[in-house]
Symmetry: C2
Subunit: 231 residues, 2 copies
Amino acid sequence: MSANASPQGTVEASAGDVPALGAIPAGLVEEGQIDILNMAAQCFMARGYASTSIDDVARKLGSTKGRIYHFFASKADLFFAVAEVGMQFNYAVVDPCLKMEASAVKRLSHMAFAHCLSMIETQAYQHSVWQGVEIHVRGSTTPEQRERLNALIDSRHRYSELFRTVMEEAAADGAIGYDDLGIARQLMFMTLNSPIFWYKPRPGETAHDRRNIARQCTNFALAGLGIEAGR
Amino acid sequence: MSANASPQGTVEASAGDVPALGAIPAGLVEEGQIDILNMAAQCFMARGYASTSIDDVARKLGSTKGRIYHFFASKADLFFAVAEVGMQFNYAVVDPCLKMEASAVKRLSHMAFAHCLSMIETQAYQHSVWQGVEIHVRGSTTPEQRERLNALIDSRHRYSELFRTVMEEAAADGAIGYDDLGIARQLMFMTLNSPIFWYKPRPGETAHDRRNIARQCTNFALAGLGIEAGR
DNA sequence: TTGACAACATACTCGGTAGTATGTCTAATT
DNA sequence: AATTAGACATACTACCGAGTATGTTGTCAA
């Protein structure tokens, strides 16, 4: 709503330069909401949407429900805010790869890597996105919030389409080979998304370590699509 | 408990010969429980464990809570029963592959295919297994049921170890190549498990169609591990 | 200095759901 | 024929958690 000018402006991330936790794209959320979103994402990841109570989130914040309901109309509202921010992260890192001047395979590789790294660096948010798409949010009987859910799924779908386009280009170049495009894309995404579930930050971990993990996932996915260990 | 003799005895499935829904391994469950388990699995998959009420399951059964609580002590008890049956399915189809007289890669291929097909054919059960391992079942504050959860996770872990052994053999043969074994196994499993989430039976679908899907997943996973389209 | 409003905290309501207690009906047993 | 027990249905309780209503405190403008 308010044209709030943030210090870092629009996130200008090149592939791999992922926004850190807490650096949420400008203009999307008010200042006081960031902590809430972070903690909510953590809780949703740890226990799932349904079994996370607002009081749980409040406890993690060291405050009470009042603070949360001051900013968010409902539990579902809070959840969708988290998920939408998660999708913003993804678009922010993948978009630059789309505009690269390079072959389709090369662009696809960069997109895959950027996406995967985003899964790692914004894990909690992405876990919420997943839950949202997996529709465990059923029970949002409110028509207004079903609209919100559809919007999220749609956002996710359009995002997925970005990859489809490039995959088809790459296939036309003869660079990759698959049987069924739909299945191939599902498998690629599952591979790239998988850190959402099994990634756990190690004590002395560096950004380089995370990039290494993302690289392995990307290589696996591309190999699955029939590409040599490209880079 | 009771040594109940079932018509088909122990499930003797060769790779790909997956038990159909409703054909639950003998001796595990009483007759009257099968429908309950099937419907519970359906509900847990559709809405998730937490947001599925016992009344939901009962409604799907066309009966009431009484029937469910007659057989299962609690909601968590019902859930674990579903998940454990799911794991039984997996062990039943993968075990024969382990004992095959063939190279490690070949055995791995068969295991992967059998596992993936099991994900498809017993999807609802596997979805519950997933949720159990993903610990959305937190809230099982009962110590007795935390024991049950640990047992499930342990079962899943031992199952995963079956694959690790063969993967290491295959790597020793120089047949596959990966960077980090742990990550490679995670990626392979995610690929093979993925039908749990996106598979949806088509109207006129045949067993052959399902095997075809499983084959694509398996090929993707094996290619990801650095194997040519084996089999 | 005094409204006024944002940013919370506190205290309450109310519906949904897990679990229980009890009733009913049928089939097998003796 | 009477008894028992399994397989449910019905009716109820107790609690938890989402949402609300209202109070409190600090800050800033006029």
